[in-house]
Symmetry: C2
Subunit: 346 residues, 2 copies
């Protein structure tokens, strides 16, 4: 029983010996290979494996077959519900395919993202999924693309989530259209005077949503005063800070503030609450993403629904499908405006 403190795991070799068969037969018995093996032998091997508590060494298998069964996932911040929901979808889809997922977080830094992609290549994952908003004009952008191309050139599949314009297969959300639809709905609710909270100017997602929103308003002859567009980090605290800034300027002229993401919107709502501003009585709020907590804040948050978990799921399916070989297949997922109590009919 009390083995030496740190014996090494049983190997296939041990199993073969224990079962009195060859390595080849043991291997064939334990993983449905194409070759058949006599049922008696197979049983012997299975029994021996169980007896020895054998567990195949994935690394060795990977080396031998020249391919792994892992999918690597890159997110900006796993504690952010936007990303954790996507991750849940990725993991779910991966598991049904018998794939293991490894995760790394970029902390919203493009440089870090590049480093991680470089490192992750060493895993030889079957699939690499990148999510998080692209930031254009970045120096590392070209290097990132090169690195991903190198990965793809050696048989790896790359899928991007929610970031168009890069030469890889992508699952995109129509941020522009969603934001435009939201603007239309809000005007329909009776709102006329808007403010917006955005992320960094280079963040594509933020820009698209802002643009869509502005264009949606424009259809009704409404414009957002430039002073009423404030920016912050793409986080809860960023939203909080931006809202605080907005408050400093006075919100007398504003009916509703649109934040480009739910987490920012929720940060903003907290800022309002702390300032004694009551949503939606004093000011209405709308977000984007429809994260789980959007319906649990008070008032429940008006937003644009994105099927987050589906995004992740579709990403791995796209990666595994042959369509991904074409290198720039695009799956577009639908968004849907969800009006809630944070923007009641006026």
């Amino acid at each position: 029983m009390a083995a030496s403190p740190t014996a090494s795991p049983a190997t296939l070799h041990d199993v073969a010996r224990e079962a009195g068969v060859s390595l080849a037969t043991a291997s064939r018995s334990l993983n449905g290979s194409t070759r058949k093996v006599n049922d008696e032998y197979r049983q012997r091997v299975l029994a021996a494996a169980a007896r020895l508590n054998y567990s195949p060494n994935f690394s060795a298998q990977a080396v031998a077959k020249g391919s792994t069964s892992t999918v690597a996932l890159l997110v900006s911040d796993i504690a952010d519900p936007y990303f954790s929901s996507i991750a849940a979808g990725v993991i779910r889809a991966a598991e049904t395919q018998g794939l293991i997922v490894t995760m790394a977080v970029t902390e919203r830094s493009t440089e870090r993202e590049l480093e991680l992609v470089r490192a992750l290549r060493g895993q030889r994952p079957r699939v690499m999924i990148l999510t998080g908003s692209r930031s254009d004009g970045s120096e590392s952008q070209a290097a990132l693309v090169a690195e991903l191309k190198a990965f793809a050139a050696t048989g790896g599949r790359v899928v991007l989530i929610s970031q168009e314009g890069l030469p890889f297969s992508t699952v995109v959300v129509d941020n522009y259209l969603g934001a435009r639809a939201l603007a239309n709905s809000l005007v329909g609710q009776g709102y006329r005077r808007f403010a917006a909270i955005g992320g960094a100017r280079t963040l594509v997602t933020s820009r698209d949503r802002l643009a869509g929103f502005a264009d949606g308003l424009a259809e009704h002859g409404i414009a957002i005063h430039p002073d009423h567009i404030v920016r912050g980090e793409f986080t809860r605290d960023g939203g909080f800070a931006a809202a605080t800034e907005l408050l400093a300027d006075g919100i007398g002229q504003i009916d509703l503030v649109f934040a480009v993401s739910d987490v920012m919107a929720i940060g903003a709502m907290s800022a309002f609450r702390e300032a004694g501003i009551v949503v939606p009585r004093d000011i209405a709020v709308a977000g984007f993403d429809d994260i789980d907590t959007a319906r649990d804040v008070t008032p429940a948050l008006t937003t644009v629904h994105i099927p987050l978990a589906d995004l992740g799921q579709q990403a791995v399916e796209l990666a595994l499908s042959d369509a991904a070989l074409s290198s720039d297949e695009v799956i577009r997922v639908e968004t849907r405006v969800v009006l809630r109590a944070s923007s009641p009919q006026l």
Copy 2:
């Protein structure tokens, strides 16, 4: 440029040939081995590696050295902020050690957990971290322990998060004490008539928190009427359902409802809101965990703070420290009552 559609990645062998050195020299140049290598050779190798876009094959390295650099993390549900915060801590700590983390989700099923542990063993991770509440009386429990012991016996480190009583190193939260302190604080706030929302009866975490809370109240001669303890799934929807059940019985006799987790509390708050019950005017609410959104709901949620990310971080540190060898080191993290607007002074 247009290589064959799917060339294989450059190997160390290729690099060595390109640099005109031996395999050994190439290996030594690319990963700070103990042996020194002439600077000129090293430069040649580095240049060749860059030219060929070489990326070391982790699997092969793992096979060669007989050890990997991955930590496997098991969570119940990555979309749950409780787990995603812990995961963030684990990932952060792992990355600083140059470790890769792989993740799997158990969906709160002990059977699934067992399957996953079995599968994960194949990765030969350096560390395996299990989180999620233990459910005692489960059939799979013994099998799980056996599997983990087998893993530990072959040099693997096992660390549990927030689940005492199993023969492994653990990072525990003092649920009992935290809940008791919360009860005391709430009584101090003037509350006297309580209800509670718990998870399944077998869930250790739920039970400890309930027990602590009850004992805390008992110190003041207060008891919760058995009818006022309702149970549901350990999720937002579970909290919602439990609160709905509570409402059906009438909440006239209740000042405050304590939910054993923030997500359940938030679900409960949503149920109240939908029923037109105003928190905290009509009923106060308190939770446990202090997930990020606890401060962002309205009213902000009174809860017991757990440094979730630290939990994850400490788990990997514990795993990597030699203390883990003793097989049942326990790190106890402090909790702290956080009174917020959901339970104002009466």
